[in-house]
Symmetry: C2
Subunit: 199 residues, 2 copies
DNA sequence: GTCTATATGAGGATAGAC
DNA sequence: GTCTATCCTCATATAGAC
């Protein structure tokens, strides 16, 4: 057995296999990706994967939990910072686009599979993270309204959903190295969100 | 054989089965839903489904193509109308939220499966519809800018993606009969989109 | 760390009786 | 229009050799 019961040691081969799996899970979907697909892409046979991982489920589990841990570390930094409310909100948006840039596969998997995977005990942390993310956004929006920077007439819960959804769904079309950098995209998005599209 | 080669006749039993399948495809995903799941939900055995449909694929095909036909009929009406640019844009947004309200399952299936299904010849119309939808939004945005109602400094392609994504992704959380009607949601969304969230 | 070989089960689909 | 019975393929996972 290669993996410890608490946290698997990071061998580079293991990480390599996780990257390959993440790419396939992200582009074809978790269910649509077979262990043979993963093994083929890695140049080994499917049975050999089980030297590294217990199951296909373990692979996606490790991919998602690792990513979430990093992402929420960033959110925590912003919340703890002393920038003004509007700047904090902008920062949170930018962190998200940065995550899309740096961890496309992980974000895509989370977007596409979290609802379904979340129904299993093993992935209950996904629901908790969702809740945590909601608290981050509601806090930022609340501070923004309290400071007078944001409109007080809007339904905060709805605003939260719109921001969350629009930011993350960009993973569907954003391509690193494409025409627009993630900074460009974030700039435009922040501009629309804050000021609207009318003159 | 029950179905004609061109367009299957609408027997009510057939429609009932399609509704049941759509509900399952929308909530569990196409690949995750087995023909046995569908049959169970309908109170029959899986083999009996094949009296009505050629394959599981045929079912999702019929669900999606029927929905798309209706949706694009609505878009065409708006484009052909003589409302001012801003009103047309609003109308298009509202039609989308209405579609989410009336055809939740179909919208969800399209959102979750179109990318993947679109890679097969049989579903090539999905890509065409996507292109068509892009033209609708770009036309509306172009008219808006030309008329002076919309900001000329924004990247129209990006604005299009943000509108498209934010509108449709609402299907993930919108529930008919919930706290917010689809009219409420559309109102708030239009307000944010047009005027932004700042004071 | 990878391969060979294989167990085991699930899922899509079919043929023909009722 | 549904059931019985069943085929066939594909997918996850395992055991042990190399």
């Amino acid at each position: 057995m290669t993996q410890s019961s608490v946290r698997p040691p990071s061998s580079s081969r293991r990480d390599e296999l996780l990257q390959i799996a993440a790419e396939l899970f992200a582009t074809q979907g978790f269910k649509n990706t077979t262990v043979r697909d993963i093994a083929d892409a890695a140049g080994i046979l499917s049975g050999s994967l089980y030297h590294h991982f217990d199951s296909k489920e373990s692979m996606v589990d490790e991919i998602l939990s690792t990513f979430q841990e990093e992402l929420f570390g960033r959110y925590a930094e912003i919340l703890a910072g002393d920038a003004d409310p509007r700047a904090k909100l902008e920062a949170a948006v930018r962190v998200s686009f940065e995550a899309i840039h740096q961890h496309r596969n992980e974000v895509a998997i989370f977007q596409n599979e979290a609802d379904h995977l979340g129904t299993f005990e093993r992935f209950s942390y996904l629901a908790e993270r969702n809740q945590q993310s909601r608290e981050v956004w509601l806090t930022l929006l609340g501070e923004g309204i309290a400071s007078g920077a944001l409109r007080p007439d809007l339904d905060v819960e709805l605003v939260h959903r719109f921001i969350r959804d629009t930011v993350w769904v960009a993973v569907r079309w954003y391509r690193p190295g494409g025409k627009r950098s993630h900074h460009d995209v974030a700039d435009q998005y922040v501009s629309i969100l804050l000021d609207g599209i009318t003159t």
